[in-house]
Symmetry: C2
Subunit: 401 residues, 2 copies
């Protein structure tokens, strides 16, 4: 019951899902910017949303629509986040759902919406309306949809895995977008998942939460949490498997497959952070609690000084220790072991002699693994981030203009 990656897989890889996208004219830089995901039949649905107290209008609408645990379509645009747009924004999000429902011939209640892009600008509803009209749905349309949700991303993020449950095949596919304003508290901006599994709604919601805790909630680009963060999963049951319930072997296999897809997408987001040239993976072991392991790993991955040092291949490991120290996790400076790409820089709190050129070389790769053993307990966690480059600043000092 091991999941296998589907080469070229995407969110429409599972049975009964179709998608499409169009250029509605919302992105100033051009390109696909509006899309739809659609299931032939109503789905069991679950969602997780931003921890930011300022929630974009589409988030408010999704929370309302998904409360009943079902959904059938997602309408999404990039270029404008419909956030900080007051009552008008809420009306616009509802109108976007209605336009999608009308096109698809389903209830507006079964349509979920998401928007990403500039904050504080009203959705251009004429473009949205014309765009929804134009979208053509197809089995291959997941790739277009993955493109349409990007903003400052440099590549589309897609993944699908197949899971064999004793001769019965399930598929879980997903797409995500990231790039900036990414910090754990559902740190994904947008991620949509679609599966043909028949599945218990309560289990689906819990499975999604657990997967997010291992993936998107361990991801950080810049410490800023977006008001638009939205993670949705639709399960349409067309695989005709015996309904997956909590506690079963099938549930365990489904969870592992879902974790794999979410971790893969989260790492894609980290790798493609604004201005990023490298993925940083921070593994913390030996923490006194799970919370300590998580906060320690995330704090190191988020430290601008660690990120800048990684950018310059500078083995300035003191910054890693300083970040651990301010993380709030229980630590004992005299017990820490620290490794960069398996090279030991500190053992039991004492700096170890190392070959600077060797460490610099190890930091030049596309992935820089940092491992910290706190040697206090038995809890571990892994976080992902990226280096901080001059390009990040350039992108973000010229974003709206």
């Amino acid at each position: 019951m091991k999941a296998e990656v589907i080469p070229g897989g995407t969110i429409t890889s599972a049975k009964g899902f179709r998608a499409g996208a169009t250029r509605a004219g919302l992105k100033t830089r051009g390109g696909l910017d509006l899309g739809i995901l659609y299931s032939e039949v109503p789905c069991v649905a679950a969602g997780l949303f931003t921890g930011n107290r300022i929630k974009a209008a589409p988030v408010l609408l999704c929370q309302e629509h998904i409360a009943g645990g079902r959904g059938q379509a997602i309408v999404v645009n990039a270029g404008c986040a419909n956030a900080c747009t007051g009552e008008q924004g809420v009306e616009d999000a509802a109108e976007m759902a209605s336009l999608g429902a009308k096109k698809l011939g389903i209830s507006a209640q079964d349509v979920l919406v998401a928007s990403t892009g500039v904050i504080g600008m009203r959705l251009p509803m004429e473009l949205i309306s014309a765009g929804i009209e134009k979208v053509a749905l197809s089995k291959e349309g997941g790739h277009e949809l993955a493109q349409a949700i990007t903003t400052t991303d440099t590549f589309a993020k897609e993944r699908a895995v197949a899971l064999d449950l004793g001769g019965m095949e399930l598929i879980i596919g997903g797409i995500a977008k990231g790039a900036g304003m990414i910090h754990p508290d559902l740190a994904t901006l947008l991620c949509f998942l679609a599966t043909d599994a028949a599945i218990d709604a309560g289990f689906l919601e819990r499975a999604l939460r657990r997967a997010a805790d291992l993936s998107f909630n361990m991801l950080t680009i810049d410490g800023d949490t977006s008001p638009s963060d939205t993670l949705l999963i639709l399960a349409n049951g067309l695989a005709n498997n015996r309904k997956i319930e909590e506690g079963s072997a099938a549930a365990k296999a489904f969870q592992a497959a879902l974790d794999e897809v979410c971790i893969y997408l989260a790492k894609c987001i980290a790798r493609d952070g604004e201005g990023a040239t490298k993925l940083i993976e921070v593994a913390v072991e030996g923490a006194l609690s799970a919370a300590d392991a998580r906060v320690a790993a995330r704090t190191v991955a988020c430290s601008p000084l660690v990120k800048a040092a990684v950018h310059g291949n500078d083995p300035n490991w003191g910054r890693i220790i300083a970040a651990l120290g301010r993380s709030g996790a229980e630590i004992d400076g005299s017990k820490i072991d620290l490794f960069v790409n398996s090279i030991c820089l500190m053992k039991g709190g004492s700096p170890q002699p190392f070959d600077e050129n060797e460490v610099r070389g190890a930091m030049k790769g596309a992935e820089v693994p940092i491992k910290v053993c706190l040697n206090l307990g038995s809890y571990a966690a892994t976080a992902w981030g990226c280096d901080l480059s001059e390009e990040y600043v350039t992108i973000n000092s010229e974003y709206t203009t």
Copy 2:
């Protein structure tokens, strides 16, 4: 009883203080890097230290020496932080205090030490020893000392004020260094203050804590808290005033003067943040609690996206609202008023039309004031930070190499 700024004032402006610095050879870039502050007589002393769980060796030593509430000298170096240096580091810090004591003919217990610079490197004790030997103390030496404690700072940070207590003049002088790894939890790296006031030790400690809460603890450059943060004050009593006790009119005047010096130095540190081209001042009003006002102001000042937008004069105010939303402070999106340099961008949660060129022009100044009215309660706080530039990344990707 109002404090007056002393033009050209520094840490040796108060009676009985002398200082000096030398080039010991600790900074790879050259320049003064080791200095001493000395009072002719023993002082009442108080200190505040980093909240980082990893504390540099000089911090551990200062905490021990200052426990008795007295001190007479500070020996300080830049270029090497003596942090993450284990038992050896603690021995080196003690040796640094002993060398200072021997030179000055006082007890090592009355010598405080501080070190700033690269983490994880052992103090070169031969250079320290020879440097201490060479330092010549003088009444004007505060200026040299202010230079000697800088690392990536581009200017020395000095201030002194005179306080007239009914014909009796007190002076409070101070110096600070900042630039990077600066985040509220005593966010100063190093700040030393010297006054000739006769003052109650308990009041001095509380006054210092209150001044830090209004100044250094409302300061952020990059979100990273240093293991070396040290704020020290020495009061030698040579002004011969009636001893200042908590609750008196003199205490109130002293507190106001101390606040002024600390806020001035904190703003200098913000203005001179690594790569910074501007000072950002974030004033939050109408919060439900003092803690909410403080965390909201600091979160906005610390947001990399807000900082990058300010760098590019980009009126992307949605990022300010997004930062408020993730700050943890109680907020109601429909009540927020937002002003950049007095231009209203949001009123009662609704975006206001504004002239983009006017706002861009207002953001081009050396100081960018951001005001947020939460309209929920009566608490206010002000935080200081700086813009995020490509230069910040360049500096920090090449720090040790």
